[in-house]
Amino acid sequence: SLSERLTATFAHLRGKGRLTAADIDSTVREIRRALLDADVALEVVKAFTAAIRTRALGKEVSEALNPAQQVVKIVDEELVSVLGGSTRRLHLAKVPPTVILLAGLQGAGKTTLAGKLGRALAAEGHTPLLAACDLQRPDAVTQLRVIGEQAGVPVFAPEPGNGVGDPVRVARDAVVEAGAKQYDVVIVDTAGRLGVDAELMDQAKRIREAVQPDEVLFVIDAMTGQDAAATARAFRDGVGLTGVVLSKLDGDTRGGAALSVVSVTGAPILYASTGEGLDDFEVFHPDRMSRRILD
């Protein structure tokens, strides 16, 4: 853990009296290594440790009874501040329906999330409609239908998918359907796509323009490594993001991707998906995530 590493580093420095800039440098190197080992993206580690270094040079560390713990406390505070700083509730439209667009890489957990989010909103008294706009992945429409059934949430799936149908049109029609049938939330599931796929990023942008969503949620696998920064940037610039959902947090990955994505996009992590079940869904806890990354 970072705490153990820094305690060892400072034990080595104890009895030296004042901490020098070189001492702080070796401390910052430990922090850098810990964050990289936790999968935080390199550019984010560099910016983050620069901020830590500035604070670590100050009196709060040099005059601390236990400087190692003080540095760990600073890192934890900075991490929680970035991860949770702009935390908020879901944006709901003034005039329904609220439109939530799900986007992300292949296999991140979007389709499953559509069911979870729908179910959670229904439990809060909403009337959600799931829109099957992944017309590409084999049997994605069927998958969403089954999930909708399990979640007790209706699914709008006018096209069979498997290459047939236009996702932009289905998305637009889903919002019209919601208006007509009085659903107050539309959750749009889309095909997984690469940040480097210009054509599909453009499609995502056109889906967004067609439905003017109240939320564009970037769904990312918590075990994502260095690529989290490049991918988050591509989706931020290509589609636009308002919020993030971290998935598969029930695994044992440290989850540094959380820091990467928030740092690069400025969008808050709203939810955490913690399993394959429809109820494995919760509000995101920045303090828990910080402890997990620094563990």
Binding site: Q106, V146, D221, E276
Partner: protein
């Protein structure tokens, strides 16, 4: 280009950064660059391009240390009759197992093999339908569960039994995604393997790993080696910006060779692993 590029302190930093960005990990990146630095000193290397080529060679060499051949020869039973080569496909959720089976079926069918696939993911929504679609595209027959929520080991058994009956050359078994931290699910996988082995030896256990994964890929390799006896890695989604560098440590820790790579969502997007090409993509 023309002239040589001189080496300075920045050169070493840039090389190390490139490896870290490729998910090699901080420790492995430092080790490789330190080794390279010592080697460059000894050999009086002056041009940065030579450094890069030395680094590529070092990486490629490490990645080639395990045999990347796919073992698909049909084994014989006690009476000397040919059994199908059975391949289990395993890995965590969403990495590309089902898609890879479709691609692999196509690849094998093109070689004239008779391929059968077993839909032993009896848990996830529309998993059987998705596999059936891929099987059809790949020219393989699909063995579906007889009832909803059927024990996956039983479906796998039925698929192999049917493959033996039909004289299939290869039986590919799809399994549900499972995080390696779930003890019950990892036990289920061991059971699937044991049950299948009552009918035929398992020729390959392909562990599918997603190139976008960070350090956790190493833990996945170790766990699937211990619980399923993984014999080969399929590294998918290399058509994206991720490099999948964690496989270097996975190979070191678990000793599983990388045999195949997935480079897209199309049926032909499956290629044999090439260590030199991989190293070149990582180092530049």
């Amino acid at each position: 280009f023309g002239g040589s590029r001189p080496i300075d302190e920045q050169t070493w930093e840039q090389l190390e950064d490139a490896l870290i960005l490729g998910d090699l990990g901080a420790e492995a990146s430092e080790r490789l660059v330190a080794g390279l630095r010592a080697q460059a000193e000894r050999l009086q290397v002056r041009d940065e391009r030579d450094l890069r080529s030395m680094l590529r060679d070092a990486l490629a060499e490490e990645l080639s240390e395990n045999d990347p051949t796919l073992h698909l020869r049909r084994p014989a039973d006690a009476e000397g009759r040919a059994l199908p080569a059975v391949v289990l496909v395993v890995g965590v959720n969403g990495v590309g197992k089902t898609t890879t089976i479709g691609k692999f079926a196509r690849f094998l069918s093109r070689l004239g093999k008779r391929v059968m696939v077993g839909a032993a993911d009896t848990f996830r929504a529309a998993a059987v339908e998705q596999l059936a679609t891929w099987a059809e595209r790949g020219g393989a027959e699909v063995v579906r569960p007889e009832r909803a929520g059927q024990d996956p080991a039983s479906v796998a058994y039925q698929a192999v039994a049917h493959g033996i009956e039909e004289n299939a050359d290869v039986v590919l078994i799809d399994t549900a995604g499972r995080l390696q931290t779930k003890a019950g699910l990892m036990d289920e996988l061991s059971k699937i393997r044991r049950v299948v082995e009552k009918l035929a030896p398992v020729a390959e256990v392909l562990l599918v790993l997603d190139a976008t994964t960070g350090r956790n890929g190493i833990a996945q390799a170790e766990a699937f080696l211990n619980h399923a006896g993984a014999t080969g890695i399929v590294l998918t989604k290399l058509d994206g910006s991720a490099k999948g560098g964690f496989v270097l440590s996975a190979r070191e820790e678990a000793g599983i060779p990388i045999k195949l790579i997935g480079v897209g969502e199309g049926i032909d997007d499956l290629h044999a692993f090439n260590a030199e090409a991989f190293a070149r993509d990582l180092v530049g």
